[in-house]
Symmetry: C2
Subunit: 287 residues, 2 copies
């Protein structure tokens, strides 16, 4: 495991698919000198409709793959995996692990003006109750927390249906209860949703603050690496960090969708087979 | 491998998820005395958005799991897996393998009145060109074959959005080109689509024959087992065959969605872990 614990090692980021590229993008903007390795489990996406045990087994393989690549930190850029597997990954991995839920909760708490806070996500994320528990722990009452599953947002975004009537209908259907509850802050609790930010903002109105945890997560990663003395010393000297991409499958619309999430075309891409995923998962059991 | 090649062995059926239950239902209705084992790869569903190599690796594990359960035949009740993996499975499996595409093509050819034939399916199925090749091999010209990807039908059906405005919009968007081409026959090239049959029939009009390959596949299975002397001798004596279900994940809405596809509640259900899937896949390499 070359490089584990070394400041020169890359930061690892994984997601169920391509949505986590929004997190990679935020990390690259905040820490441009750091090398970043992304793994997207495109062969088994989505995670948000699946059960806890399954998501935990997948997350072990995903994180394991990054650890065997020598990363100095694992960033779980998937809300469902953060909800179901973060504590477990912290137990088994030899490197620090950051999830996407706590940074989102903290940003929402800083944003709310005493009204209600909404959170939207996959079925798995919302039913895990992790966001709700985080908000309640900070003192919000039950009536101040409004959670809503939005299962069709992921396939709509993967089909690239922005500004499409179907997407408008889905927004109306899912977000009307949040608008009616007059939330003042809305957590976009899925890495796919930042792509819908403009449409959601228009529907919710200008008084509702949208929280995209990508930026908060990037700040949390910077803080944590700083505490551990693991930030690259040469990162401030104009070094351009390397981005590399591992995927378990090449989706039909990979280049198009990937570029939309990342904000530029994806280069340095390799695929990872089922066998390698299995080995990476088992390797984490033997640490 | 107890029971392989024995008439008393069950028939194995697999699909990426729960859609193949429509095929299981047709088999059970035609061959009520036969035992049936269903495997749904609910942990990795959908297959229709994923690449050939990935689908083939998954199909090897799925079929392997059924073979290690001693089935006398494997029915691939998934159009995408039939498109990408049928020839491969026939090479590696020790039992006969039936796919869903040829029965669908044959039924469509028997139904068409010399006009155009339409086929709808997942991105993977349509881009594999298997349906188009099957229709062309029977003499249809390029202009008589109209193929259309319908990627949102699967998530819409998994969310149970029948008679919903979003589903109406998706039908309009996907099927308008087929209506404009005046197809006289339309193949429902995905096991999820029979759930939408009424809505599709209404949109396409009474002159368009809809082909659901579940029934044609059940007849093909009966014929093939008959030829091989593998039909149960006691099946005609009022024996009620046993249905059992294996799933790699329990979806959030499992009972509700499962019953909708199967036509009755699902009993005898067991989950299968990633480890067992891996072993089943590797076992097929060693045959």
């Amino acid at each position: 495991m070359t490089g584990v614990g070394s400041a020169e090692a890359p930061i690892g980021v994984f997601d169920s698919g391509l949505g986590g590229l929004t997190v990679l993008r935020a990390l690259h903007e905040l820490l441009p000198g750091e090398d970043l390795v992304y793994f997207g489990d495109t062969a088994r996406v989505p995670y948000g409709t699946k059960g806890e045990k399954t998501v935990r087994a997948f997350a072990q393989q995903d994180a394991g793959l990054l650890v065997t690549r020598g990363v100095k930190m694992v960033v779980v850029a998937c809300n469902t995996a953060s909800a179901f597997a973060l504590d477990y990954l912290r137990e088994i991995l030899p490197v620090p692990v950051l999830g996407v839920i706590n940074p989102g909760v903290r940003t929402a708490l800083a944003s709310t003006r005493g009204g209600a806070v909404g959170v939207i996500g996959t079925s798995g994320t919302i039913r895990s109750l992790k966001y709700q528990a985080g908000l309640a722990a900070a003192g919000l009452s039950e009536g101040q927390i409004v959670a809503q599953e939005c299962p069709l947002f992921v396939p709509l975004m993967e089909e690239g249906l922005h500004a499409h009537r179907m997407t408008e209908l889905a927004i109306e259907e899912y977000l009307e209860p949040l608008r009616a509850a007059q939330v003042d802050t809305l957590i976009l609790g899925c890495t796919h949703y930042p792509l819908l930010k403009a449409e959601i903002a228009e529907f919710m109105g200008p008084d509702v603050q949208l929280v995209d945890s990508a930026n908060a997560l990037a700040v949390a990663a910077q803080d944590r690496l700083g505490e551990l003395g693991l930030l690259r010393a040469d990162a401030t000297a104009g070094r351009e960090g390397e981005l590399s991409f591992l995927l378990s499958d090449i989706p039909w619309k990979f280049q198009e969708i990937g570029a939309r999430f990342l904000g530029k075309p994806i280069e340095n891409m390799k695929t990872v087979g089922l066998d390698e995923m299995e080995e990476a998962g088992h390797a984490m059991e033997q640490l």
